[in-house]
């Protein structure tokens, strides 16, 4: 496999455009540190085969990511993740914002005072650092 990475199969839902789901998958990988800035990514064709999607879909995803300036392609060299810190940070906030939105709208249904909620979040976070230190460290680097 290229990059020493294993691109495991992603489960796609059939109601959202597949190419957008691929873009989102890339964003998640960037944010979790599995794709570093400037890292080389597989070609469209290889990605298609690895994720088991239509090569046209992979093509569309790459085009979208190029428009979002998530990836850069210089001439004939393979595409890479952008090194632009601003963009990478904005993805981070985007995904983080979404995660917070989801959490808040779910938690809101359970009538809990905000302080208690924040305490619970802090406790859970610390617990996670203890159990899986490596993952979170990488995320803290960007």
């Amino acid at each position: 496999m290229k990059n020493g990475e294993v691109w495991e199969e992603v489960a796609f839902n059939n109601r959202d455009p597949v190419y957008l789901q691929v873009v989102r998958h890339f964003k998640e990988r960037i944010v979790t540190g599995r794709l570093g800035p400037g890292q080389v990514i597989p070609s469209r064709r290889d990605l298609g085969a690895m994720l088991k999607i239509n090569p046209n879909t992979a093509q569309r995803a790459y085009k979208e990511m190029e428009e979002l300036r998530l990836i850069v392609t210089e001439g004939n060299s393979p595409s890479r993740i952008t090194s632009d810190g601003k963009i990478l940070r904005s993805i981070r906030s985007e995904l983080l914002g979404e995660a917070v939105d989801r959490f808040v709208s779910t938690a809101k249904i359970i009538d809990v005072p905000m302080n208690e909620l924040l305490e619970l979040v802090k406790a859970k976070y610390l617990e996670e650092i203890e159990n899986r230190p490596n993952e979170l460290q990488e995320g803290n680097q960007s």
Partner: protein, 229 residues
């Protein structure tokens, strides 16, 4: 582009095809969807000149079907097309003898892809292996269009996965694919365009990603609309 215009066919007083029109572009995977007996196979056979229609036309890149076009358009039906007594590699030699567009390197690649044993006789193959072999001889041609009739029908799960992998590989590189199926589940995320057939005509013809962004619907959702209306 494969352009089908107003195909009509009646057989023993039944209107099998009642004005079927659609297109399948090169470089895209188009799926003709319909329930069993809807006439999907008939459409493919009509395109290939293997059966007659009462009226309507078929054009491939602007030209009507002819025997030279068999080099450019390959058809993979839902049954075996090579004699049982032949070994798989003999069958491939037969194809190489007749088709200028036969690509021996790709044939070899496909045999490896599907893990086929060239020495085995076609009569001894299991259903799944036979389907894979069929696919192999259809794809080993340097054809510009590939038509497939029910490639997954009645095949074991592992063979199906292997066959599905063909669609995400570069084996279909740049070709126009038209396939029929009634089992859309495993194919949803692999096809570009869906053409839904009902009562001998085309009810819906759409780009899959477009339907997902515009209406948030999957192909199965649209099928429900068509068939349960």
């Amino acid at each position: 582009m494969i352009e089908v215009v107003n195909l009509r066919k009646s057989y023993r007083r039944r209107n099998v095809l009642n004005g079927v029109s659609f297109t399948a572009e090169k470089g895209q995977i188009t799926c003709l969807i319909g329930i069993n007996g809807a006439g999907k196979s008939t459409v493919l056979r009509a395109i290939m000149g293997l059966t007659q229609v009462n009226s309507g036309t078929v054009h491939i890149d602007g030209r009507p079907m002819s025997r030279e076009l068999y080099e450019k358009v390959s058809f993979i039906p839902d049954r075996l097309t090579m004699p049982l007594g032949m070994k798989m590699e003999e069958a491939m030699q037969f194809m190489a003898d007749f088709y200028r567009s036969w690509n021996p390197a790709r044939a070899k690649e496909l045999i490896q892809f599907f893990q086929l044993n060239g020495n085995e006789k076609i009569g001894h193959l299991s259903k799944g292996t036979a389907a894979k072999f069929n696919l192999a001889i259809g794809l080993a041609q340097d054809s510009e269009y590939v038509l497939m009739d029910e490639p997954f029908s009645g095949i074991d799960m592992f063979s199906r996965e292997q066959i599905a992998d063909v669609f995400s590989s570069d084996l279909l590189d740049g070709r126009g694919v038209l396939l029929t199926t009634h089992e859309i589940a495993e194919m949803e995320h692999l096809i570009d365009k869906a053409v839904i057939m009902n009562n001998g005509t085309i009810s819906r013809e759409f780009d899959c990603e477009q339907i997902r962004s515009d209406e948030g619907k999957s192909i199965v959702d649209v099928m429900r609309e068509v068939y349960l209306a």
